[in-house]
Each structure stands twice: as structure tokens, then as C-alpha cells.
Symmetry: C2
Subunit: 202 residues, 2 copies
């Protein structure tokens, strides 16, 4: 035997499987495997169980496309949300951030991605037809586009805006501007330029 040591097969398989996690390469997955086996076998067993449980139990809410264990998620079936507002976000993480602002009481649609033609993600992959039929329900009065302010997010918002306007929907976009609590000196020039263009009466 020479070169790399011959690892136990089940250890090698675990190191390989950990690489399905985003941002985890060969070295991290190895460190994670060693850590779990040496210091936290209970945590590893619990992780295995929750993985299986989540993969089996979680599907997409028929209305908002977010993760849900039911056909319709708790938020979409809540009577305390305003059904005339529909906020379109890229991910559940973005949805969490909008909720954390305590500034929104309407419903959501979660795209689970954004247009990225180079990665093969187009309107079909994102099921834009589902979003359009949801957004065109009679009780929806305004669609708020809250995709990210990245090139892909902006493209997605622009594209959706065209489709929705063509169907006669009122469409708005989150305001761009100087972040709350920030000093102008440390804000990038592009943001200042937008904030100037979209200045409002004070």
C-alpha cells in the first residue's frame, strides 16, 4: 500500500455524499465527516433522520410554490393576510426577509430561482405559467416584484413585469435607494445615482 491511505468504504462514501451540500468541496466534506464521526455521532444520526423526513414530507404549496407539508401552506390559508397583494420573491430566504421587515401583510409567490439563461434556467423551468395564473386571479390587485437587485433578479423582474402588464395587472417593484442607517460616504455610487433619480418630495 502506498500513496493515499485506504479509507474505510463507508467513510469514503460519506465524504463523497457530503459534497452534495452547496459550497462544500473535498476538503470541507472530509473535515465534516471526521467531525461527525469523532465528536457528534448523535448529530449525524439526527441529521440523517431529518433529511429523510424532509425529503419525503415536503412539497410545494399549490398557491405560493413555497415549501409546505400541506397542499396549501399555512400562510396561504391564513385569513389574516391581505389577498389583494401578491409579492414575488426568488427564494424562501427572501420571503423571510420581507416578513422580518414587518412591513407586508399580503401573500407571496416563491419563484425558487431566477432567470439565468446561461445556466439553462428560463421561463419554463421557473413555471412562469403557474405564477401568471396565480397573479391573474380576480382578488389580486397588485403584484409586487421583490426579486433581487442583481443582474439576474432585475432581468427576471423586467420580464415578469412585461408579462403581467400585458395581462392588465398592476405591477410594482421594491424601491431602490440608500439603505436604512447608512452613511452616504460608504454607499456605492450606483445606489446614490438611483436614489437621486428616484428622489421624492420631503
Amino acid at each position: 500500500m502506498d500513496g493515499q491511505i485506504s479509507e474505510p468504504e463507508s467513510l469514503r462514501a460519506l465524504i463523497e455524499a457530503l459534497r452534495c451540500l452547496p459550497g462544500v468541496g473535498e476538503r470541507s466534506s472530509r473535515r465534516m465527516a471526521y467531525h461527525l464521526l469523532q465528536h457528534d455521532p448523535q448529530g449525524a444520526a439526527r441529521l440523517a433522520e431529518t433529511l429523510l423526513h424532509a425529503v419525503e414530507g415536503i412539497r410545494h404549496c399549490r398557491l405560493c410554490n413555497g415549501f409546505s407539508e400541506e397542499e396549501i401552506c399555512a400562510m396561504c390559508s391564513s385569513s389574516r393576510r391581505d389577498p389583494s397583494l401578491l409579492c414575488v420573491v426568488e427564494t424562501p430566504a427572501d420571503q423571510n426577509m420581507v416578513e422580518a421587515s414587518h412591513g407586508y401583510t399580503g401573500l407571496y409567490y416563491v419563484l425558487m430561482g431566477r432567470l439565468a439563461p446561461l445556466e439553462g434556467v428560463g421561463p419554463d423551468q421557473l413555471q412562469f405559467d403557474r405564477l401568471l395564473s396565480r397573479a391573474c386571479e380576480a382578488k389580486v390587485e397588485e403584484v409586487i416584484l421583490a426579486t433581487n437587485f442583481t443582474p439576474e433578479g432585475e432581468t427576471t423582474a423586467h420580464y415578469l413585469s412585461e408579462l403581467l402588464r400585458a395581462r392588465g395587472r398592476k405591477v410594482t417593484r421594491l424601491a431602490r435607494g440608500v439603505p436604512a442607517g447608512s452613511e452616504l460616504e460608504y454607499v456605492d455610487a450606483g445606489t446614490i445615482a438611483w436614489a437621486l433619480m428616484e428622489r421624492r418630495g420631503a
Copy 2:
């Protein structure tokens, strides 16, 4: 309902369980969970299976303390390794690096850690008695300390060196010096100082 959205219970449990991985906090675990559920449920199921398999099947080799599925690992039972040399490393990752150097044909002892009194890791936690009885077997002629060149690794090497010398063993330490292929201009001063002190005839 207001504030954070109410996540499905199985999603919340998965996000929590992923935090047992080293270096994974709230935000990363959330991103990992969303990724697995949205883009790689097969990977998640495979990860669950390999976790269970590894936690059940892997133990510590009776001789080298490394991970093994057998009582004695493949390397320790190999007839092609030199039993007169015993190299002490902190982790299996370090063992891999020594093997990758193709400069060593002896056997190993894996500490699975290093002395770190502030974290409550002392000689008992590292089972130094097991190492000592292994190192004092008659066929072992030299113990090579290959712990890291960090403060903890150096302390561990120093402590082990005292114990082993008191038992009459020949103990050596990996050489310190300028890394292969490096330019002096970019090597830190401490390394240069050591390389000067330990200079050899050319």
C-alpha cells in the same frame, strides 16, 4: 400570523440538524436545506443513508486509533509497512498529507485531537495511555511526532516527547524550515529563524 413565516416542521428540523456540521451557522444551514429540497433530493437521501451507514459501521482501529470498519485497519495489518516506525498525527487528514508525501513507509497513531486545556482536552481525553503502550511495543524503534506546528500541536509534541523519552524511546519531530518551492521574500520571519537555527551542511 406575523413576523417570521411559519416553516413546515420537517424543514425547520432539517435546518436545525444541519448545524451539527462544523462551520455551518443559521444562514448556511438554511441555504443548504433549501438547496437540497429544491435541487437535489436524491443527494439528500444518499447523504442520509451514508450518514447512518458510517455512524453504525465505523470505529477506531485498535492499533492506530484511526477510523476503521475492522478491529484493525488495513494499514496496520499490512505487511508492506515498516513496523519499526510510528508516526503520531493529530487527525486522519494529517495522516493523508504524510502519505501523500510518499516519504514514509511506517505505521501511524492518530490522536484524534491535540492538547487544548482551555477546551478541556487533556492527556486523558486523548487517551495518551493507549498511545504510550502502543509506542512501547518492542518492535517500535522510533516515534516521529508529526503534530501541527501550531501552539497546541507544539505543546502536544513537547508533552508526548517527555513521556516517551522517560520510557526510553527514540523520539523525533518533523523538521521545521523553508517550505519546498517557496521564495524567501514571502516566507514569514519565524520560519526563516528556525531554518537558520536548524541549518545543515550542504
